[in-house]
C-alpha cells in the first residue's frame, strides 16, 4: 500500500513531470547544435574551417571542389547592419528608459512601457514591408540604390529599440531605493540622479539589454532580407547593399543541394554560436552586476 500511495503522490508526479519538461527544453538547444553540426559536417570535412575566411568569395556549388565558400562578406553584412542598428537604437532606448523611470508621471510611464512591449511584439515582416515601401525609396532618392546597410540598420534599430529599452527600464527599476533616497536627500537634480547615479548603478543590466539587442539584430532575417539589397559584398559605405548570414540562408535554401546545402547549415551554426556567445556574455555581465549589488 505505501508503495502505490507514494507513486501517486501528486507532489512527486509534478516534480517528475516538470523535470521531464525542463530536460526536453534544455535538450532542444543541444539537439539543434548537434543537428547543425551533422548537417554542416560534410562541407566542413571537405573545405575545413580555414576556407570559410580564405576563399575568394561566396560562390557556392553542389560540390566543395567547384565552389568558393568565404563567409567574410556575409559576416561583414550581418555585423554592419547589427552594429548600425545598435548604435542607432541604444541611445534612444536608454533615453526612453530614463524618461520612463525618472521623468514621466507614473501613469504615462506605465502607458509608455506597455507601448514598448507591444512594439517589441510587432512581426518583423511588418517592419520589413514598411522599410521596403517607405524607407528604401526615401534613401534611394538621396543615395541610390536605397536598399542598403543604412536601411537595414534603421529597420533593425526600430525592432531592437523596445528590447533594449525594456531591459534598461527594468535595470533602472532594480536600482536600490536606498541609492535613490540618498540622491534625493542631497537635493541632487533629477537629471544628475538619473544619468550619474542610477544609470551607472544599472550599468550591468543596461549592457545586458544592449547585448541581447545585438543578438536579436544578428538573428533577424525577414526584415533585413527585404531592405538590405542582398548583394554579397563587404560594404564600403552605409549606402551600399549587403547580404546578411540570415538572409543568405533564406535566399538560397530553396535550391541548395549537396555541399551548398551543407554550407548553409554551417553558416547557421556560425550564427547560432555567435548568438549563444552574446547571450553568455550578457549573462556573465548580469551575474557580475548582481554580485556587486549584493556586496553593497
Amino acid at each position: 500500500m505505501p508503495a502505490s500511495a507514494s507513486r501517486l503522490d501528486p507532489d512527486r508526479l509534478l516534480t517528475g513531470g516538470l523535470r521531464l519538461c525542463a530536460a526536453f527544453s534544455a535538450a532542444l538547444l543541444i539537439l539543434v547544435v548537434i543537428f547543425l553540426l551533422l548537417q554542416a559536417g560534410p562541407v566542413l570535412d571537405a573545405i575545413g574551417p580555414w576556407r570559410l575566411f580564405a576563399d575568394d568569395g561566396w560562390f557556392p556549388a553542389d560540390t566543395a571542389a567547384a565552389g568558393q565558400f568565404s563567409i567574410v562578406a556575409l559576416l561583414a553584412g550581418s555585423g554592419a547592419v547589427a552594429f548600425g542598428a545598435t548604435v542607432l537604437a541604444a541611445p534612444l532606448a536608454i533615453a526612453s528608459a530614463v524618461f520612463c523611470r525618472f521623468v514621466a508621471p507614473p501613469r504615462i510611464g506605465q502607458l509608455f512601457r506597455r507601448m514598448l512591449e507591444v512594439l517589441a511584439g510587432v512581426p518583423s515582416v511588418v517592419f520589413g514591408f514598411w522599410g521596403l515601401v517607405v524607407l528604401v525609396p526615401l534613401i534611394n532618392r538621396w543615395q541610390p540604390p536605397g536598399a542598403s546597410v543604412l536601411a537595414g540598420a534603421l529597420v533593425l534599430g526600430l525592432m531592437i529599440l523596445p528590447t533594449i529599452a525594456l531591459l534598461a527600464d527594468s535595470a533602472l527599476r532594480s536600482v536600490p531605493r536606498a541609492t535613490l533616497s540618498a540622491a534625493a536627500a542631497l537635493g541632487l537634480s533629477r537629471w544628475r540622479t538619473a544619468l550619474q547615479v542610477a544609470l551607472p548603478a544599472a550599468r550591468g543590466g543596461v549592457v545586458t539589454g544592449i547585448i541581447l539587442g545585438v543578438a536579436r539584430a544578428i538573428g533577424e532575417t525577414m526584415a533585413v532580407l527585404m531592405v538590405c539589397g542582398n548583394v554579397v559584398q563587404v560594404p564600403a559605405s552605409v549606402f551600399e547593399p549587403v547580404r546578411t548570414l540570415t538572409a543568405n540562408i533564406a535566399l538560397e535554401m530553396a535550391y541548395a543541394y549537396g555541399d551548398h546545402r551543407s554550407a548553409l547549415f554551417l553558416t547557421g551554426l556560425v550564427l547560432t554560436l555567435l548568438v549563444i556567445a552574446l547571450v553568455l556574455v550578457a549573462e556573465l555581465g548580469r551575474g557580475a552586476n548582481a554580485r556587486r549589488t549584493a556586496h553593497g
Binding site: 536606498a178 533616497s181 540618498a182 536627500a185 537635493g187 541632487l188 537634480s189 551607472p200 548603478a201 556587486r292
Partner: protein, 272 residues
Amino acid sequence: MKSTVTPIRSVVAESAPPALAIQTKDLAVHYGALCAVRGVSLQVPQQQITAIIGPSGCGKTSVLSSLNRLTDLIPGARVSGQILIDGADVLWPAYDPVALRRRVGKVFQKPNPFPLSIARNLDLPLRDQGVRNADERAGRIEAVLRRVGLWDEVAQRLDMPAQQLSGGQQQRLCIARALVLEPDILLMDEPCSALDPIASGVVEGLIEELRGDYTVVVVTHNLQQARRIADHLAVFWTSGDAGCLVEQGPAGAIFDSPKQAITAAYLDGRCC
C-alpha cells in the same frame, strides 16, 4: 546661510531656552488611510544633538523623514501640520524641497554610498550644487573626509568603489557626503544600528564631534547611546492607532526624572 543666533550652551540656558532650529506644530504623517504619527509638536534646539527614542512603529522615522520632505518620495504619504525652520513652514507647497535638503542633510540607517568611487560620491553633490572649480571641490572633499576621520584611511584610494569600504567606513562616507554640502541640520536615522560595535562606537564619537557646528537629530533604538550623546530628548510612543510624542526636554532631566509614567517605564526597560 548659518544663522547668527548666540550659541546655546550658555550658562543661562535654564532661564532662556535655546533657540530652535526646527519646530513642528501638530505634525501628522499618513500613509494612505493609515496614520503613522500625529499631534507632534517637536522642538529641536540649535546646534545640539536631539535624540528621538521610542519603541518600533511609533513614527520616529516618519517624523524624521518629513523634516526634509523625503516623505514626498513615498507614494501615498501625506504630511500635515507645520514644520518651521527659520520661521518658514517647509511644508508650504511652494517651498523648494531641493534647497531644503541641501540645508537639512540626512544619513540613513543602512550605509548607502552611491555605487561609484569614493571621490565621486562627494564630487557629485558639489557639482550639483554648482561648485565649478575642481580645486575647490578637491579641497572640500579632503576637508570633509578629514572631518569624519576617513582621510588617512582612503587618501591613497579615492578612486576605489565606495562599496568596497567596510560598513563603518561607508557610513562615515555617507556622513561626509551629507556634510560636504555644508548643511545646518543633519538628520540621522539609527546611523549605528547596521554597524558592528567598534564601527558603531567610531560613528557615535563622530556624531558627538558634530555638536556645536550642526544641529543633529538622531533617531535611535539604543537608550545607552541616547544617554551618551543626546543634549535634548524626544520620547515617542504608540497611542491607540498612531504614534505620538509623549515627552521632550533636556536629556539629563528626562533620564533622571521623567515626567510621564510611560517614559519612566520605557527608560527602565519595564515595558515592551
